[in-house]
């Protein structure tokens, strides 16, 4: 499909406006991310396009450099509307809580 259907565009914009992920798939509301600074911005930004299980799923593979690459892919390639300031917040949060511990 070339263009986003107006109804879905509205839903996506609402999601951005409310800073909450939706439309959600049944069950994804049960995903709990580590309660720490940066969590809310991470949930609101990443959850616009995908469920948050992508984050713990990749935690065993990722580190600071990996998350930096991944977040920039989301912004540059997938068009995620995340400010530079929030990119840093998300990067810090994921590097600290969803990364392989440094050797």
């Amino acid at each position: 499909m070339k263009r986003l259907h107006p109804a879905l565009a509205a839903v996506a914009m609402l999601a951005l406006a409310c800073s909450a992920p939706r439309p959600a798939a049944a069950g994804e509301e049960t995903i709990g991310l580590t309660d720490a600074p940066g969590r809310e911005i991470t949930v609101a930004s990443c959850g616009v396009c995908h469920s948050l299980d992508y984050l713990p799923m990749n935690a065993a593979v990722m580190n600071h450099a990996g998350w930096e690459k991944s977040i920039h892919k989301m912004v540059d390639r997938f068009g995620a509307p995340i400010s530079a300031e929030n990119v840093q917040v998300i990067l810090d949060y994921l590097s600290l809580h969803y990364s392989v511990p440094p050797p």
């Binding site: 070339k2 986003l4 879905l8 439309p23 959600a24 396009c49 299980d53 509307p81």
Partner: protein
């Protein structure tokens, strides 16, 4: 093509239906509407893999078949309203076909074929790589029925300038800036008699989560080309340059065997194309216990991109010696082929089994993986450790 009501209905279905939940080791088993519980990798977009126990039958049931999406806007398509548009710069007769048109005007064909995600077993790579952490179940074997893509392309009156055929489905991104999931095939593969526009799977209409009402079936090629909810086919004289061809689903050039996709190849990278020779032990999970002196049989599947399986070799001494397993009858060269091996249960203690498939062209599963950044083409020799007690 889709009404607002239909789109919202699909979204609401995903929102409101309660999921059945269960645990299976560290994995969560969840049932999407119309599916039995599968291993949930991600909720949205939905990525669910088939548990080993559901890969034991020659044909993988529709409700057990894996689900793989890249983008989360997945409409429920009304098969009566659905239309397939065919055109492009190398076509001189634009078509708009309903499901009834496809069934009425084109020859119906059936093919048994493996549908395997390029990233199947990504989660088993060492060192690990990011992406959906699939184990063994991002694959299945099914009977696909539909019409030949080439018959439709001939009706679209394509000329000699055709280089690639580009496919788009009804699923889309949530944000306008996200690249739509669009794939292309080289013209020769598009014109292959085995490439289908399929509307049935195992004798039933395609399940929603597997591409209803019609999807592309490209036997021997990785699942990424099997575009679901197919809506647009364009025959073009130049290489398609979208994200999902130029950036995603690529491997180092020359690193793997398989068909070359020359119009998409660069000096550094090339698209994933054909699946590699591979096998899967389905009868036993790692760590399974066997009763002493009770007969036990190891079994599983072997497959490749369509050359066919010549042998499955088993080693019980860590790869020093290999002996042939018994092969089952072929279900077709694009389907998997069963193998069986009588286990020796006379001695108490650990039993280590290695299994490797050999194709008719002599390709054999490797004992070392070829590293690649996205974790494609995992076809390492299979191993299980059992215990006779």
């Amino acid at each position: 093509m889709l009404t607002r009501r239909e789109l919202l209905a699909g979204t609401l279905t995903a929102l409101l239906l309660p999921a059945q939940r269960a645990q299976c080791g560290g994995d969560e088993l969840l049932a999407l509407p119309g599916k039995r519980p599968l291993i949930k990798r991600t909720f949205r977009p939905p990525n669910y893999e088939t548990p080993l126990a559901d890969l034991r039958r020659p044909i993988t049931p529709n409700d057990a078949f894996f689900v793989r999406y890249h983008l989360a806007n997945i409409p429920t398509v009304d098969p009566l309203q659905w239309r397939l548009r065919v055109g492009g710069a190398s076509s001189h007769q634009a078509l708009e076909l309903s499901l009834a048109d496809l069934k009425r005007h084109y020859e119906r064909v059936t093919v048994a074929a493996i549908n395997q995600c390029a990233g199947n077993r990504r989660g088993l790579f060492t060192p690990r790589v990011p992406g959906v952490q699939w184990t063994n179940g991002a694959m299945g074997n099914a009977l696909w029925a539909g019409v030949r893509l080439r018959d439709v392309l001939r009706a679209a009156n394509i000329d000699g300038s055709a280089l690639e055929v580009v496919f788009d489905g009804a699923d889309a991104a949530l944000l306008p800036a996200t690249p739509d999931f669009v794939k292309s095939l080289p013209i020769d593969r598009a014109l292959d008699e085995n490439t289908l526009i399929a509307f049935e799977m195992n004798g039933q209409p395609l399940p929603h989560w597997n591409g209803a009402p019609a999807r592309l079936v490209v036997p021997g090629w990785a699942g990424t080309y099997w575009v679901k909810h197919l809506t647009d086919i364009r025959v073009e004289a130049k290489a398609y340059d979208g994200f999902w061809m130029k950036t995603a689903y690529r491997i180092p050039t020359g690193a793997f065997p398989g068909a070359r996709f020359t119009s998409q190849e660069t000096a550094e990278t090339t698209p994933v194309t054909e699946i590699l020779v591979n096998s899967l032990i389905t009868s036993h999970e790692n760590g399974a216990r066997l009763a002493r002196n009770r007969s036990a049989e190891l079994s599983g599947w072997a497959w490749d991109a369509g050359v066919g399986i010549a042998a499955v070799e088993i080693s019980t001494d860590a790869g020093q010696n290999w002996r042939p397993a018994t092969l089952e009858r072929e279900q077709g060269r694009f389907a998997w082929r069963g193998f069986r091996w009588r286990l020796d249960t006379h001695k108490v203690g650990p039993v280590s089994i290695l299994a490797r498939a050999v194709s008719r062209s002599g390709a054999r599963q490797p004992d070392r993986l070829t590293p690649n950044p996205s974790g494609y083409h995992h076809n390492l020799v299979q191993s299980v450790s059992l215990e006779v007690a």
